[in-house]
Every structure is written in structure tokens, then in C-alpha cells.
């Protein structure tokens, strides 16, 4: 799980071009300035690319925070 979090942190830093981002499980879109509904989908595509997974509608529609996203990724990778 730590490794997933670290890679996820890398994606977020790349995507927002901000080396200071430190993701916490509780992090939400409100905590990152540039994270809006328009670039959210591109961000999710970047996450999918990083982990080689596909996030389904069910996966992304109810996401509350980064911790939940990491949980879904972990489940998908283990499958």
C-alpha cells in the first residue's frame, strides 16, 4: 500500500507540476488548487496509465478521497 501511495504521489506531482504535493489518505480535490472537474478526467487517465489499470464508472463515481482511490488501485493490481 505504501508503494502505491508513493507512485500515486508521483503521478500527482507530475500532473500538477508541483514537487511539494504530499498526498494523505484524506486528501481531496479541495486540497489541491488546480484539481478541478475539468482536469480530473485527465488525472484519472494518468493514474490508469501509471498502474496499467482501467477504472470503471463504479470505481470513480463514489470516490471520496485519495485513500479510497489507492484502495481501488490496490484491489485492481492484486486481481
Amino acid at each position: 500500500m505504501d508503494e502505491i501511495f508513493e507512485r500515486l504521489n508521483g503521478v500527482f506531482r507530475d500532473f500538477f507540476d508541483d514537487e511539494d504535493i504530499e498526498l494523505e489518505p484524506e486528501t481531496t480535490a479541495d486540497d489541491i488548487d488546480d484539481w478541478d472537474s475539468l482536469n480530473h478526467i485527465t488525472l484519472m487517465a494518468a493514474v490508469e496509465d501509471e498502474f496499467g489499470i482501467r477504472l470503471s464508472m463504479g470505481d470513480v463515481s463514489g470516490l471520496k478521497n485519495v485513500g479510497e482511490l489507492a484502495g481501488i488501485i490496490e484491489k485492481k493490481i492484486r486481481q
Binding site: I41, D49, E50
Partner: protein, 594 residues
């Protein structure tokens, strides 16, 4: 930088790093053509604009975007909001997909009903195009349609008039016909793109239902790359020359070691077939105006022997320049560029050897150097990079190789004369210099976008703007076409001036470098002055704007006898009184006169 945008590019990387890539490109200090692009969309297009910006920046174009509200493409086209009118786009891109087809035929519909549905779908789009064209007069790029995600009738869906596959093919045919007969209208072929990408992967339902994207996000860079290819072609940023290595590029093996009989080409062996097919593909480029050159480490004799292999389709004659020697390839490429009077950055260098590619890439900024790995992939690698994207085909394009070869003949004739004037006379040159004619609008626009060296103001014009200048009574427009005993060079020089009372301001003065030192610029000057005088103009003002590439014409107006009015490092202004001007042309017969 170039490489991350070359096929096969990494979409995930481009999406993930778009922000930092954009920053790096924007801060690289390069001068780019600013272009205002209105994206009128039938689905969400924000990511499309983001990615398109990257590809365009890489092509030397700095886009500014207007995005319609979600799915408002038709309303925006028909009744442009103030924001769009104020934006005044240089290009309108209609990003629509099969999600924007309002009605498909139903199984119970009669043939007449089906025909009327297709007609009304098509008319809906045509109205939008006509409205845009009337209101903005700018180039339009329109997606055609990707195939539908399901086939209710199975295979019959493509043949039955009620089938969606048939309907979409029908609409795509109508779009293509419209594009064929409409200037400044270009199809962005997402039907082809989506099939290359894989339709199932392209038509991502999650992206649609969650975010109203009509294609999968990882496909967005592919789409953006294709749109950018059309836009850069409109702005004259296509490559012009395909420089080819020989050994293991045009044939298998090394002709110097294996001998002509030992190289692999021809239908006998699978390996030979691959190279034959590649030679056929390369040769086709001559017909679209691409110049071919050889850049090979070889003895000249062996190179020619290889190119005369009976099973090959390319012949030494197909190449405008053959550099087969042991000099470094970057030097050979630069020499070839000089011989052709073209910029090195207009070259694509195709070589199977990664070391040679690295040298050329390192030494020649702007030249395209694709990763030519695996002979069976050569065609796809060159093709998908859209180096030579054709937006229109002129007679000039088809004859270009001949024109450049005629230049080589002129050069060898020149050597036999001791007096340059005698040489010019021997060419028996005649020029046609007249106000813009509709026949040449396309070529004129092409020249304004392609000419960088002999270009005083480097103003770029679309075909629509050329047409507008020709129709403007305040504008003096002249094109110059030069022929000689070796052939017709076509339209090679363009001047546009703006009259303000009795003063003529020269907004554009350019000439193709293929007619340098032929006195053509003097012939143009004579005609400019004569056109000015006939309008009662007393003074002509010339402007020179310095760019990275137009140093050769810094002193042009001075050589014409203009007087300097003002000077800054970037700009000099010159003037000439028309009274007392005597024609300067000595060796060219203008418009049938002497």
C-alpha cells in the same frame, strides 16, 4: 523535445506531464506563429485543447483557444456569441462525433424516409459550415464520424439502408464530397484514426457517461496529433524533403560489401519484399511534391549501382541530390539543403542507424529524425508522423522534382559563362507579373507560409486572406511567375501593398529561394513602381522585420535605391519616391514585353 511527439508517442506520458511539457515549450524562447483556434464541440473538449496546444507548440505555432460551451457547436456556428465574434478565429475546428448524429434511420422507415433523414443530418452540418465560412472566412476543420459502437443488423448493418454503419459511411461520403469541392475546408479523419486505434478502445463508455468525452482519454493525444498535422500544413510547416540512407534503409544489406547482386530487394525473399514495398512508398512521394535526396556513407559508384538494381523501383533520377560519400551525414544534409535553397529544418532524415540519427538530431535543429527501427515498420513510421500532410495538390507540387532538377541544369550552364549577365540572357527568362488571380490564391497562400528567407515582413496569409487582399481596392497585389528555357518555375514571388492616399505601404514582399540571383526581384520592383504610379502614388514605404531566418534580405531595399527612414534592431523602414524611377530589369521579359 521533438521526440516525445513523434510516432509512436507515449500518450500516457503526454497526459501525465502535460503541464510541465507545456511550460518547457513555452519558455524555450522560440518564436512561434500565433493562431486563434475556435473549438466548437459536440462533446467535452478541454483535454483535446490541452493536448492540441502541446503538439502545435512543437510545430512552432502558438495557439489561443476559444471553446464552445458543452455540445453547443451548432448554435455557436449559426449564432456566434459575442465572445466568439470578438475572438475572431483564424481556424474553426468542429469536434463532433457519432454522438452528435441526431437521428438514425429506424428499421421500419421507408427508403424515402431514410434518404430524408440522411439529407437532414448532412444539411444540419452544412448549414454550420456555411455560416462559419460567411462570418469568419477562415479555414474549417471538421471531424468525420467514427463507426458506431454496435451493429443491430450484424454484418448487414453495412449494406442495409437502415444500418448505422451504412448511415455513417453515407454521411462520411457526403462530408468528403463537400471537402473535395470546398476550399479551406478540411476533414479530420477520425474514422481512420479510430480504426487504427481500435474502435472498442476509442469509444470508451466510461469517458462518455461520466465526463461526456466522445473518445477515451488515452486516445486524445492521437486525435490532437492529427488535428495539429492539418493546422501545421495550413501554416506551411510541412516538411519538404525526404533524405534517405541507402544500406539497410532502401535495401537490405550493404552494397559496398555484398555487391549489387547481394543486396536484398525484390519479390524473391520476404526481406527483399519489405524493401521493395518501402521503395514504392517512397517513390509515391514525388507525386505530392516531396523532394527525395540520398544521404549515404558509400562510394558514389556503389550507391548508383544499388539504385539501378533491376528489382528496385527508385532510380538515381528520382533524387534531386545524391550525397554518397564518407563525410559526416549532418554536413551532407546541410550541403543538400544549400543546393536546393531550402532550410535544413525542412528535411526528414530516414536512416536505420541510431548513431547517424543521433548525429543529425544533435546537429540540425528542427530536422525530423524518426526512429526507423525494423524495415517492416518504415512505412508506418513515416506515414503516421504526418510530415507531408497534403491539404491541397497544385500542379507545382506534382512537378516539383522536375523544377529542382532544372535548377541543377541551370547551375551547370552557369559554369560555362564568364559573364553573369550573359548567363542570365542565355536563360531566355520571361515573367508574368500581375494582380492576384483566383487561379493562384492557393499557391500564394502556400508561399506566404513557406517562405522564410527571402521574406521582408514574414506575414502569413490563409487562402481566405489572400482572396480578401485581392478584392480590396486599397491593396496593390502582385504575383510573379518566372519561366525560362529549362521550364516554368511557377509562381515564385508575391507582393502586397496597402495604399493610404498617395503612399504605398509594402506589407509583404517575398520570393522563393529557387529563383535567387535571377533578377526576379528587380522585375517585381519595376512592376510595383509601375502599379503605384498608375494609382497616382508618390511614395513607397518598405518594411524589413528581422527574424531568425531572413538575414539575406536585410539590405534589399537599400539595393533597390530606397532611403532609410528609421531603424531599430528588429525593424528598418525605407522609402522610395516613384517620380524619376527608371526600370531596372535587364534580363527578363515582363508580361510579353521586352
Amino acid at each position: 523535445m521533438n521526440d516525445i511527439f513523434s510516432y509512436p508517442f507515449d500518450s500516457g506520458f503526454l497526459l501525465k506531464k502535460q503541464k510541465s511539457i507545456r511550460k518547457e515549450l513555452k519558455n524555450d524562447g522560440k518564436k512561434r506563429i500565433p493562431v486563434k483556434i475556435a473549438i466548437l464541440c459536440g462533446s467535452t473538449a478541454n483535454a483535446v485543447a490541452d493536448q492540441l496546444e502541446l503538439f502545435l507548440l512543437n510545430y512552432g505555432i502558438e495557439p489561443q483557444f476559444y471553446l464552445s460551451e458543452y455540445a453547443q457547436f451548432w448554435q455557436d456556428a449559426m449564432f456566434p456569441p459575442d465572445e466568439l465574434t470578438g475572438f475572431n478565429p483564424d481556424i474553426v475546428y468542429l469536434h463532433t462525433t457519432n454522438r452528435n448524429i441526431m437521428r438514425f434511420p429506424e428499421i421500419t422507415d421507408s427508403a424515402e424516409r431514410v434518404a430524408s433523414i440522411i439529407d437532414s443530418e448532412f444539411s444540419h452540418f452544412r448549414q454550420a459550415w456555411e455560416s462559419i465560412s460567411e462570418k469568419f472566412g477562415c479555414p474549417i476543420i471538421q471531424n468525420n464520424f467514427e463507426l458506431p459502437p454496435f451493429r443491430l443488423l450484424g454484418n448487414r448493418d453495412c449494406s442495409d439502408i437502415h444500418g448505422r454503419v451504412r448511415t455513417i459511411n453515407e454521411l462520411n461520403r457526403l462530408f468528403a464530397e463537400y471537402a473535395e469541392k470546398t476550399k479551406n475546408f478540411y476533414i479530420n479523419d477520425i474514422n481512420y484514426l479510430s480504426s487504427c486505434y481500435g474502435l472498442d478502445a476509442w469509444a470508451d463508455n466510461t469517458a462518455w457517461h461520466m465526463y461526456k468525452y466522445a473518445l477515451a482519454l488515452p486516445a486524445v493525444p492521437v486525435l490532437a496529433s492529427n488535428i495539429a498535422a492539418i493546422i501545421k500544413a495550413i501554416y506551411g510547416k510541412n516538411k519538404k524533403v525526404l533524405a534517405l540512407d541507402l544500406d539497410n534503409t532502401l535495401w537490405g544489406g550493404i552494397v559496398g560489401d555484398d555487391g549489387v547482386e547481394g543486396i536484398k530487394i525484390g519479390m524473391e525473399l520476404p526481406q527483399g519484399q519489405v524493401y521493395s514495398e518501402f521503395q514504392d512508398y517512397v517513390k509515391l512521394h514525388k507525386d505530392i511534391g516531396v523532394l527525395l535526396t540520398v544521404c549515404s556513407k558509400n562510394e558514389q559508384e556503389n550507391a548508383l549501382a544499388g539504385l539501378n538494381h533491376p528489382a528496385g523501383t527508385l532510380r538515381p533520377d528520382d533524387f534531386t541530390v545524391i550525397k554518397a560519400n564518407w563525410e559526416p551525414k549532418d554536413r551532407n544534409l546541410l550541403e543538400a539543403a544549400e543546393e536546393l535553397s531550402l532550410l535544413p529544418e525542412s528535411f526528414v532524415f530516414a536512416d536505420d542507424n541510431p548513431a547517424e540519427r543521433a548525429i543529425v538530431r544533435g546537429q540540425i535543429a528542427g530536422a525530423a529524425v524518426p526512429e526507423m527501427d525494423g524495415a517492416e515498420n518504415y512505412i508506418r513510421i513515416l506515414d503516421r508522423n504526418s510530415y507531408f500532410e497534403v491539404i491541397s495538390l497544385s500542379d507545382d507540387d506534382r512537378k516539383r522534382t522536375e523544377m529542382y532538377k532544372a535548377n541543377a541544369q541551370r547551375a551547370s550552364l552557369q559554369k560555362s559563362f564568364s559573364d553573369y549577365g550573359e548567363y542570365l540572357d542565355s536563360l531566355e527568362m520571361s515573367a508574368e507579373i500581375k494582380p492576384f488571380l483566383p487561379l493562384y490564391f492557393q499557391r500564394i497562400a502556400q508561399l506566404t507560409n513557406k517562405s522564410n528567407q527571402f521574406n521582408l515582413t514574414t506575414r502569413r496569409y490563409t487562402e481566405a486572406e489572400v482572396e480578401a487582399a485581392a478584392a480590396d481596392p486599397k491593396k496593390v497585389t502582385l504575383y510573379g511567375r518566372l519561366s525560362d528555357k529549362f521550364g516554368d518555375n511557377g509562381v515564385v514571388s508575391v507582393v502586397i501593398g496597402r495604399q493610404e492616399e498617395n503612399v504605398l505601404h509594402l506589407e509583404l514582399w517575398l520570393m522563393s529561394c529557387r529563383v535567387l540571383k535571377r533578377e526576379m526581384e528587380l522585375a517585381m520592383l519595376d512592376e510595383v513602381v509601375s502599379a503605384a504610379k498608375s494609382r497616382g502614388i508618390e511614395k513607397i514605404i518598405g518594411y524589413y522585420y528581422l527574424t531568425a531566418k531572413n538575414g539575406m534580405v536585410r539590405g534589399l531595399y537599400e539595393s533597390f535605391g530606397f532611403t532609410k527612414v528609421s531603424e531599430t534592431p528588429e525593424e528598418t523602414v525605407w522609402e522610395l519616391e516613384t517620380a524619376g524611377y527608371t526600370p531596372k530589369t535587364k534580363h527578363i521579359s515582363i508580361n510579353g514585353g521586352n
